[in-house]
Subunit: 493 residues, 2 copies
């Protein structure tokens, strides 16, 4: 596909990228962006053409009701703010590169002692392609080499680490952090950078497989990397500040060690073994390293009155060492279990809630899980328009007009997305349970500060889908956005 | 509260119950049912009174948009079918009683060796009330005694078991099964009764705390139990048949042991230790018993062509020993993780999907998780009506009229619910992820047969939120409804 892009689409794609850079306070902006209003008629039957947008890189089509929200149109871009800007200069002395562990590297690690032939057949049996993994592994390392070479040419000292080596000490050593991977690696890099003096810059090393929403070059092929870095070093860019979520937990016994879910994601052993001492579990090895790699939480002792007991209980208040860039999930660890908690918006009274958990997101995360929880589909909009037409006796409501349904769906879904620099949090209650004991509350909304008191017994706080802390009955969390917690990153003019 | 009911509401409640019995193919019918259209004006401000329904037992109020769907009104009841009926006679010789483990019993088990005073302070620290647990424990056992006494008076031999003793042998021994607990205990009882010759009858032993949707007396106080049982033995009732889901799994290595989630629900140790050999974990003890208590799956050897490989792989096809009465959840075990699978409706082509997992439910389950995933709130309906009004330039669309919004919301939500005897499955995709690689599909719909192929690495099939089987990459499940799998239960005339 990369060859096809270079051969046929490269000018078009570059044009898209230039446009994309201009509006990239919106994390979901991608090279696809600007083609949203211009579907390729060739592959779409006329009747439907106006409802679909076609990805120029793979010719997949997506209803505009989603494309317009996820891959911003120029129209909506122009309305978006560009965030706080300042005269830029990028002259770091020391750069830390966080590289993802490629799936190939991981499989070699898990299947220690296997020959490549044996590994190939193991993967084949699982429906994975050994040669595909190897090819992606090589592309990734080619990006890494280019990056390291360009840094050296610019006289910048660099260190390369994997997740397990991405320690607070390593972060403190560097003036800037590069992430080499996809958006997941960018989120991981962001999670340990607490000062906005230290920029984080994402390099998407798998443009064919990853959107690279938060990455410098989005889906641009490797050939453009050297040029992009030169542009960066010459100050030809703009700073972008993304709001993040600070989490403070008060509990009977502070908080547990952090659990890395990303690495388990690659791990074939069930993640549910993550607490065990099973020496055969690579997850365990990784978690030991991971837990060590997280700086100890900042602890403040305090005495707080608990509502349940008439004697004061000594509780510990802990500020988590990581900040959330996308969202925080609060709920039971197991998907099939009901989450029980109390929630308070700003300084309002706490309300009891039962649901499949709750997500609290930033503008950056508003195109991610938050969007998927709340978006309406055309199926749902059409059903509702039909009911409105019948109930209000308004036959002129065009519930059979697919374009009208699609446009209305688009407007609703776009309202779910907000700017990454907006100093507010959005919450989404998943599958809320309402009954006479748990009266309905709005399942989504905004707040400056959100407090959650756990009533769970195997509940967790999960930050950016990657780092998990136990959060059980008796614990309380406060989530808020502060300017000093902004993440500083780079967009091109 | 029970006293208040007896003093002031008992006639009214009995009237409600008689009505409820008449329409109880709808699992959500409860004594509250028939008051839905008659809110108590006393506690509601006039402007809103027509939008709210008030629970007569605790005076909590619920918007009609939910009450009408969850607590069927007479109006909607009359539209509902009563299921297949036959001339009833209930003359069992041997009855098995499945009793829930009360929270009190569980805490005693977990905190072995604690005095009642020590247990009280442990519970207090967690915000739980020792005396409350003890009171509920005593009420539960009072129900059990009455039930056993009445069975003896009727010359029926009975055996009392807890979950751990609820083995296939015990079920095979009995002519009928009584569940003593809430709806969770009823689901557990149902799960091991495969023949529709063997009725399952639910006794709600916590009418104040549990809805008892599927139970014989719903929320009726204990005083009515003896009378209800006499009514039953005298044949003054009707049979009700509920459709259930049969699950057949094909995988490289069959399926794992079943994991009991219900018992973990009470367990203070993290459920994520359930695979460990930690002797201090009561969950472990319970799971050993539980795994033993499930009969081995029915295995059929077969050879199937796998799409991913060019050589045939020997796979094992297994029919799960339990049937789902509410729903089957398929997805990653951890809430914060994306689920990846392929789905095929009936005999259509398989489609790849990414989501937070999928539920497949019966009509009985259509008021449960399925409803909570798909229901719209008035907030959402109002937003959408406003957009339709603006987009179509139809100012007469009453998006500011709370009653109209509520009624339209009600109509939409009621369409989600279907009859327990309908021979179809409904699926709901949770938080579906759509992009150019994963084009949108309808997030909900009906099918006679649903096939799911796992692409997960810590995925599970969870049956009625209680029993979990590993379901990882390479495994395939077929879910279908068959008349011979019906659950036979009882409703009163």
């Amino acid at each position: 596909m990369r060859i096809r892009i270079k051969a046929q689409h490269i000018d078009q794609v570059n044009q898209h990228l230039r446009n994309a850079y201009l509006c990239s306070t919106q994390p979901s902006v991608s090279p696809r962006t600007v083609v949203a209003p211009q579907p390729t008629p060739a592959i779409i039957d006329k009747g439907e053409s106006s409802r679909y947008w076609v990805d120029p890189t793979n010719h997949m089509r997506l209803p505009k009701s989603l494309a317009a929200a996820l891959y911003q149109t120029q129209n909506t871009q122009s309305k978006r703010s560009i965030g706080n800007m300042e005269k830029p200069s990028f002259q770091p002395k020391k750069v830390l590169i966080l590289s993802k562990l490629t799936r190939y590297e991981f499989e070699k690690k898990v299947n220690k002692g296997c020959t490549d032939e044996q590994l190939a057949s193991i993967l084949k049996k699982r429906g994975s392609d050994y040669h595909g993994l190897l090819a992606k592994h090589k592309i990734h390392h080619s990006y890494l080499n280019t990056l390291q070479q360009e840094l050296e040419n610019a006289g910048i000292e660099s260190r390369l680490v994997r997740r397990f080596g991405y320690t607070q000490d390593a972060v403190d050593w560097a003036d800037a952090v590069f992430s080499a991977g996809g958006d997941g690696t960018f989120l991981m890099a962001s999670s340990k950078v607490r000062t906005k003096q230290k920029p984080v810059i994402g390099i998407n090393t798998d443009p064919q497989g990853s959107e690279g929403y938060m990455c410098l070059m989005r889906k641009l092929p490797e050939d453009n990397l050297a040029g992009a870095l030169k542009k960066l070093f010459s100050g030809n860019f703009e700073w972008l500040y993304r709001q993040r979520i600070r989490i403070t937990v008060t509990g009977d016994d502070g908080i547990s060690d952090a659990i890395e879910l990303h690495d388990q994601q690659l791990n074939r052993d069930p993640a549910t073994t993550r607490w065990t001492d099973n020496p055969r579990s690579p997850a365990r090895e990784m978690n030991i390293e991971e837990c060590m790699s997280l700086s100890p939480p900042v602890k403040k002792r305090m005495i707080s009155e608990s509502k349940e007991v008439d004697i004061p209980i000594e509780k510990e208040t802990v500020e988590l060492p990581v900040l959330a860039l996308n969202e925080v999930f609060v709920g039971e660890s197991l998907s099939s279990r009901v989450s029980y908690y109390e929630i308070g918006l700003n300084d309002e009274q706490m309300l009891k809630q039962k649901s499949s958990g709750i997500t609290i997101c930033t503008g950056t995360g508003s195109t991610s899980w938050h969007f998927n929880i709340n978006k309406l589909t055309e199926q749902c909009v059409q059903d509702l328009m039909k009911i409105v037409a019948e109930h209000c006796n308004l036959p002129q409501i065009p519930h059979t007009d697919k374009n009208a349904v699609s446009e209305i769906c688009t407007k609703f879904n776009q309202q779910l997305i907000f700017d990454p620099d907006r100093r507010q949090l959005a919450f989404s209650v998943r599958d809320p349970i309402f009954n006479a004991t748990f009266p309905p509350t709005d399942p989504r909304g905004f707040a400056d500060k959100i407090r959650i008191k756990s009533r769970g017994y195997d509940a967790h706080l999960v930050i950016d889908g990657g780092i998990s802390y136990r959060f059980n009955d008796g614990s309380e969390a406060v989530m808020e956005v502060r300017d000093e917690d902004n993440l500083r990153t780079v967009v091109f003019r």
